[in-house]
């Protein structure tokens, strides 16, 4: 049994991620993006070769980029991976080997989809078959391992495709819209402040000529 925090963490990593590479890519990808975004904001702030005017656009853009990047990455990749897992578990996307194996153990009156839906999902069916004497246990174990490899592969492909969509298509579009809103707001603020400076300027009156003073009553 693990006796310290580090060993517990290592054991937890095995439990959570050994069979599901996609899950690890999503969780730790999100954490990585947080650190990366903080570093990029710092990079712009300390770069002396970027004009102040350009920094006013780039820093809000980078903050928006970071927030949108992390939020969208996690939401989109998690949703699309869950969709992929559903497709695989409900038999929507299934290997021929697994389909043939399930067809050999199901009721002949039911279709494959009906059989899977009746039992819940394919993982449940394969777990049940391992513990029954209906079929040889080695065949059931082989079928389960084959299905696990397929599910892991489909999950990884869905995760990578979703991360490309989130980070390279949706995020740049959203961050540019958000950051330009920040810049417009900042430019308007500057205009108003410049206008206020003009209004409150002290007005110096012109000096009257000496002749005028001669006509005073």
């Amino acid at each position: 049994m693990p006796d310290n925090l580090f060993a517990k963490g290592v054991a937890k990593s095995w439990e959570l991620y050994a069979k599901d590479v996609g899950k690890s890519l999503i969780h730790w990808g999100s954490v990585g993006w947080v650190f990366s975004s903080l570093a990029q904001i710092f990079a712009i702030a300390i770069n002396k070769n970027i004009d102040k005017k350009e920094k006013k656009f780039l820093i809000p853009q980078e903050i928006a980029d970071g927030a949108v990047n992390v939020g969208l990455y996690y939401t989109i990749t998690q949703s699309i991976k869950s969709l992929g897992d559903s497709l695989v578990e409900t038999g929507g996307l299934i290997k021929k080997d697994t389909a043939d194996f399930l067809s050999s153990v199901k009721d002949s009156s039911m279709s494959l989809k009906e059989f899977i839906k009746d039992k819940g999902n394919i993982t449940t069916i394969l777990a049940e078959l391992k513990s029954t004497e209906k079929i040889d246990s080695k065949t059931a174990v082989n079928a389960a391992e084959s299905f696990a490899g397929w599910k892991n592969g489909v999950g990884t492909i869905f995760t990578i495709a979703a991360s490309v969509l989130a980070c390279n298509v949706i995020t740049p579009y959203c961050r540019n819209r958000i950051a330009s809103v920040f810049q417009q707001h900042h430019i308007e603020k500057e205009k108003i402040s410049a206008l206020n400076k003009t209004r409150h300027r002290i007005v110096h009156t012109a000096q009257l000529p000496d002749v005028f003073h001669g006509f005073k009553i």
Partner: protein
């Protein structure tokens, strides 16, 4: 099946007018169809092998590389065509985005690869077996700090599938370690490299603008 019909009825009552909403909803509808009704049976051996290979071999360094490669093809173009800001800011933004992608991808891939190698070097193991089933994982030597100490390894771990599971575990743990290391390297390596590359690309963009202006004159 009920959820699918409910979705169709909902769409008839509240038709989406925006194309941006309609396209993802359409894709969701099609996916529901495959989850609930259809079964796509994959018979192509190459496709199955590639999918399973992806689950076994692809992890965070490869994912980071794919993200970087697709990002460099897409993101600078999106930034350069952003009409919400002036031309000079667009050019700086595109140059900075390209620099950020190259710096982030190089450092990201390198750190992840190095951390996975490091975890691999300190995760030697020995197995306790009962026939084909693996009952316990033991550390090979005292320095194998990344070998998980588990009270119960699980019922579905066999000698055949253990290697794949363990490889996944090592790569996932390496990715987690890389995320922690990158909290530091983002500031020490990413930032200076991004600043240096940004300045190089900005000079290049300015010289292109000058040459373009001189030619037009």
């Amino acid at each position: 099946m009920m959820q699918f019909y409910q979705l169709i009825i909902f769409e008839k009552l509240f038709p989406c007018t925006s194309k941006k909403i309609r396209i993802p909803v359409f894709i969701l509808n099609i996916t529901f169809l495959f989850v609930e009704v259809f079964a796509v049976i994959i018979n192509n051996k190459n496709l199955i092998n590639i999918t399973e290979w992806t689950g076994r071999k692809i992890n965070s360094p490869q994912q980071r590389f794919i993200l970087g490669l697709t990002a460099i093809m897409i993101q600078p173009v999106i930034d350069y065509t952003n009409r919400n800001v002036d031309e000079e800011t667009r050019e700086v933004s595109a140059a900075r985005t390209a620099a950020k992608i190259i710096a982030g991808t190089s450092v990201g891939v390198l750190v992840r690869w190095a951390c996975i190698k490091a975890v691999n070097a300190f995760s030697g193991y020995e197995l306790e077996k009962e026939g084909e089933k693996v009952t316990k994982i033991l550390k090979k030597t005292g320095k194998d700090i990344f070998t998980p100490s588990l009270a119960r390894i699980g019922d579905d771990v066999t000698v055949k599938n253990f290697k794949n599971l363990y490889n996944n575990h090592v790569k996932n743990l390496g990715s987690i370690l890389a995320t922690v290391v990158m909290a530091g390297t983002n500031f020490l390596l990413d930032v200076p490299l991004t600043v240096w590359l940004t300045n190089k690309f900005q000079k290049f963009v300015k010289s292109c603008r000058k040459n373009g202006g001189a030619q037009n004159a």
